[in-house]
Symmetry: C2
């Protein structure tokens, strides 16, 4: 079951790559990744506003001009950081749920994957910093909406599968997917801010129980 | 039933007020509130980093020196903005649940109150901007932890009441309170970022059903 299809999270906009030959493409990709990684680290450390193109240049050892050659603006860099994170999340989730046929187990697999993401020390920290910029840039709002739609759709499909297999009761699967994402986001945030407040593992297990009790016929 | 007791959300730190006579106290309080309101507006508009003491002075019509007289640092101002918001949330929640004796109805009342807060156009916008600064200031982390504990405790008491009245099954009430906050935060955030993605009212109703189905004996 391939639950993760290739859905672009950046609306209609073109990706900023300048590929020519295949070797140059690989250097381009390598540089891009290096810059994205440095940006992510810098934003997590200092915050988005405080992180300058100069900081990023310093971290990568590249010139500021070179950073600008790959990414025309800091805004585009932040979008690429978020796209990169979403790709990582997709990989983590795919590993946990792609081979699972049972929708109940898929829900548990999804929650396991999301716990792994919450604990990676970067994802929700970056998300919060990205969200803080959302209201100031239309393009950020669109990127955020696209990746939320991507995950809502993925979870909706698991719920629909359960309904079709006769294992889940009939529910508004889009709305329940929205609530499942809420639980994941909300727990990850509370845990990010205060690791001793509760056990993330126990909360994940109770969340699974809560969702599956609701879906029981 | 008074579910909201006076719990300070700012750890051991002293509040920055310089009261003398009663008339002066009222002017002090009035000025403080005026400054806090302007700060909140400014941060929502421009973001925390971009909002300067000068901007706040301009918005209030007071001198920059006067702002500094009331709040020694921008950090303390942000903390006061958050404390002010928490007081507002407490009032909104108290109005909806203080007269309710039935714990099931109290859960619905709480969700209604939180929907009202999500829709006020300021609260979650400020929260996200506050969270983005958390990892950079120890004092912010403490304030955030205190108000999360305050709400966890409030919801835990509703659940315990339901268990004691024999209406809810035995559960880890601290953990379930954490999950209920997750749902509230998560839905409010998704809705803040994309109002057309789902109906907040329908999501609130389904969330109530989800929680009460889980608590059914």
């Amino acid at each position: 079951v391939d639950r993760l299809r290739d859905r672009s999270i950046r609306g209609g906009e073109e990706r900023e790559v300048a590929p020519t030959g295949s070797e140059e493409l690989s250097l381009t990709e390598k540089r891009r990744e290096q810059i994205i990684k440095a940006t992510c680290e810098c934003i997590v450390e200092k915050g988005y506003s405080a992180c300058t193109m100069q900081d990023i240049a310093k971290k990568t050892g590249l010139s500021k001009g070179m950073i600008h050659y790959y990414f025309s603006t800091k805004e585009n860099l932040l979008i690429s950081v978020m796209e990169n994170l979403v790709s990582q999340w997709d990989r983590v989730i795919a590993e946990r749920i792609n081979d699972i046929k049972d929708p109940q187990e898929a829900i548990h697999g999804l929650l396991d994957a999301c716990c792994e993401i919450a604990q990676d020390g970067v994802s929700y920290n970056m998300l919060v910093k990205f969200w803080a910029e959302l209201s100031h840039k239309k393009a950020f709002e669109e990127v955020n909406a696209n990746f939320y739609n991507h995950y809502r759709e993925m979870i909706r499909e698991i719920i629909e599968e359960g309904i079709n297999q006769g294992k889940f009761k009939e529910v508004d699967s889009h709305l329940l997917a929205t609530i499942i994402i809420s639980i994941i986001d909300g727990l990850s945030l509370q845990w990010l801010f205060e690791k001793d407040a509760f056990s993330l593992m126990k909360a994940k297990n109770m969340a699974g129980e809560l969702i599956l009790t609701f879906l029981r016929k």
